[in-house]
Amino acid sequence: MALKLPIYMDHNATTPVDPRVLEAMLPYFTEKFANSASRNHEFGWEAEDGVKLARKQVGDLIGADPKEVIWTSGSTESNNLAIKGVADMYKDKGRHIITAVHEHKATLDPCKRLAKMGYDVTWLEPGPDGIIYAKQVAEAIREDTILVSIMWANNEIGTINELPQIGKVCKEKGVLLHTDATQAVGKIPVDVNEAGIDLLSGSAHKIYGPKGAGFLYVRRRKPRVRLTPIIDGGGHERGMRSGTLNVTGIVGLGKACELCRLEMVEETARLSGLRDRLEKGITSQLEHAVVNGHLTKRLPHTTNISFPYVEGESMMMAIKEIAVSSGSACTSASLEPSYVLKALGLGDEIAHSSIRFGLGRITTEQEVDYTIEKVVTAVKKLLDLSPLYEMVLEGIDINAIEWGAH
């Protein structure tokens, strides 16, 4: 088969809708168009059936009861609802929240807002492996801690936090645990009971479903978690999230979960094979390239590689037929070095030239091989152009130089 350009290698950003998902959704736009809250006619029941099936499909994927699934517009909303909802509901119990510095903005910013409102937020910091460990969480928990929000897997480097253990710590101390599992759901086994999760965010568009559909798992038993809603109205979703349901999106999300569950073992093996091939192909030919974060405790389809002495934007330009995500480029162009990579303690000149490769259901071996070749050629060319690399070859320590401000 001929290689088609450009190549999409940014599956952590979003994924294409699987044709089987689309097929499941289509009837709900036209024949089965009703409001799922219309309890008194057949049209409504039909739509409600679709939503009900989706609840089960989501529940089956994450080991939850269908009733514990609250529909949202995506993980940004789910994180906001979980964090702000718990903070408000339990404010008389305490005002301390624990999260980590390298969470997604959809967690960081709600926490920052709460901090402005007088809540006390502890920001845990990872080591170079990118992982947050249960011990760190245990040490940070206080009398007045009401919520721990630690993501399952990181979106930039794919590392997986020490989750069943963090859940255990939270259970022991009686603190609610929210996890942003946007990157983990459908990719690796996720079980809310095994991991001791009380609230979990997921999003359809990361798992070959449509954009604008997501869910928040909210535990109903042991303990029964309560939330102050952000969106008030008709009292949908146990009053936690009002608004006529996005039936098509929800049906798609459900189908997407089902496919991920059925195909996970096979797909994980295939993708981690391709990911390893990509990594080896690149790092064996470029001695300075480094893979960021923990090398085994991570998602099967993601790798984040730094190319020291090469600048990110020029790198992206050199491999423009491959769609990837770059940590950053020059600060002056208002693109900041990635805060996630900086949190791992990477030096600026390294954080400036990191690329996230996100493989997915449509990725082929041929695409991986093409990517290896392009990346290696590009980096070699840019190293030839790099004054920093030249200094390194001359034995000059570039961190010891006093660079002018600019």
Binding site: Y309, V310, E311, G312, E313, S314, M317, S328, A329, C330, T331, S332, A333, S334, L335, P337, G347, D348, E349, H352, D384, L385, S386, P387, L388, Y389, E390, I398, W403, G404, A405, H406
Partner: protein, 141 residues
């Protein structure tokens, strides 16, 4: 971001990539920028002492495509000029030639700074008074 044809051309086939002996008396070296800002430019000139003209120039740049193109263009432009003529090169001319968008103006500023820095290095090495050189530039302007 969409790049202009000229940026792409310089990026794909950069002119005058390389290095000269920075200790040579007839070579001036300018290094500007900083790794944490995501850009470092090194520009070198070789001056013919008899005529005072720049006879060769080389660069190496760690930076975005526009920074690479700006420095590549700068090496082309300084060749054959006297030091005063080279000092008169303005970043705005680079912006215009390469059709750089506003966010990339600072890449051209770096290139201008790199030219000036290389010339000053040469002047210092050779005991030339560069304040005088700058003054003459201003009177000409």
């Amino acid at each position: 971001m969409a790049y202009s044809e000229k940026v792409l051309s310089h990026y794909e086939t950069p002119r005058n990539v390389g290095s000269m002996d920075k200790d040579a008396k007839n070579v001036g070296t300018g290094i500007v920028g900083a790794p944490e800002c995501g850009d470092v430019m090194k520009l070198q000139i070789q001056v013919d002492e008899a005529t005072g003209k720049i006879i060769d120039a080389k660069f190496k740049t760690f930076g975005c495509g526009s920074a690479i193109a700006s420095s590549s263009l700068a090496t082309e432009w300084v060749k054959g000029r006297t030091l005063d003529e080279a000092l008169a090169i303005k970043n705005t001319q680079i912006v215009q030639e390469l059709s750089l968008p506003p966010v990339k103006i600072h890449c051209s500023v770096l290139a201008e700074d790199a030219i000036k820095s290389a010339i000053h290095d040469y002047q210092e090495k050779n005991g030339l008074d560069h304040d005088h050189a700058e003054a003459s530039e201003h009177t000409k302007a």
